[in-house]
């Protein structure tokens, strides 16, 4: 069973990759819409999948957070990604299966997966 001792090992591993004094403007944010409609549409597994994938690849300077109502129920689960110096990209109808591509191509590769974005869905 997991215990607090394991956390010490995680801390030691992170200290090497994480610059703990990271300035806010260097941080990439992955924001998951977690209003009631988002949760009903499956936002929670999406948030978990992002957290897992980012932890697994040990990406530093990437935070996963949640927000309430984004006002676009029919497109939930919605995920907004903001990278330093880039415009916000909005992904719609996200699923855990889509997450690894977004992490690989957008967060690591720097190129948004346009086919999952709001522009593509509205067309």
């Amino acid at each position: 069973m997991k215990s607090l001792q394991e956390l010490a090992a995680i801390r030691d591993r992170m200290k090497q990759t994480v610059n703990t004094r990271e300035a806010a403007h260097d941080t990439t944010r992955v924001v998951v819409g977690m209003a009631t409609c988002g949760i009903a549409a499956g936002a929670r597994p999406v948030l978990n999948a992002f957290t897992e994938e980012i932890a697994r690849r040990e990406l530093s300077g990437v935070l996963v957070t949640q927000t309430g109502c984004i006002g676009l129920c029919q497109y939930e689960p919605i995920v907004e990604i903001t990278m330093p110096g880039q415009e916000k990209v909005t992904y719609v109808k996200m699923t855990p299966e889509k997450v690894s591509r977004v992490v690989a191509e957008h967060l690591i590769g720097g190129k948004p997966v346009t086919e999952f974005t709001i522009g593509a869905a509205a067309r």
């Binding site: 069973m1 997991k2 215990s3 607090l4 394991e6 956390l7 010490a8 995680i10 801390r11 591993r13 992170m14 200290k15 994480v18 703990t20 977690m34 009631t36 949760i39 929670r44 948030l47 978990n48 992002f50 957290t51 897992e52 980012i54 932890a55 040990e58 990406l59 990437v62 935070l63 996963v64 957070t65 949640q66 309430g68 109502c69 006002g71």
Partner: protein, 180 residues
Amino acid sequence: MNVLDVAQNSVAAGAKLIRISLEVDDARERLVLTIEDDGKGMTEETISRVTDPFYTTRTTRKVGLGLPFLKMAAEMTGGAFSIRSQPGRGTCVQAEFGLHHIDRAPVGDMASTVAGLIQCSPDIDFVYIVRAAGDRFCADTREMRAVLGDVPLSEPGVAQWIREFIEENTQPILRRSNIV
């Protein structure tokens, strides 16, 4: 159970410490959910209005659904609902559900809910307690912080661990009480 909506009120109220507890009271056949914070609190007048769905201080939507919904969900199962609050001191919301009532909402993925709250509000301390059938588990971010030092609770690797930590430790307790 819409624990996230209700806990988010505590976050919005500027709490520094939020306690969430889930208790199975077999003798009284109740499942008791308590969310307690040290945020800005509410006046008597506000308390009397918050269970009215048309009362909210939010600006993005005209109705507040968190508390009225929780109250309804509890009362539907023959349970009870209460809010105690003092301006400047904090708020305690408690919902009691009929443990075996057919209309009792499933507990849901509490481990993800609590881990998500911690991950998204890394400056607030959270205590999550599960008590059932003589067992008790407590996750306290103050203890985690003491171990982590400079590494923030919002780091995905840490958040992932917190979710698994809560899940692995609470699942057996809740399962033994037949509530998940």
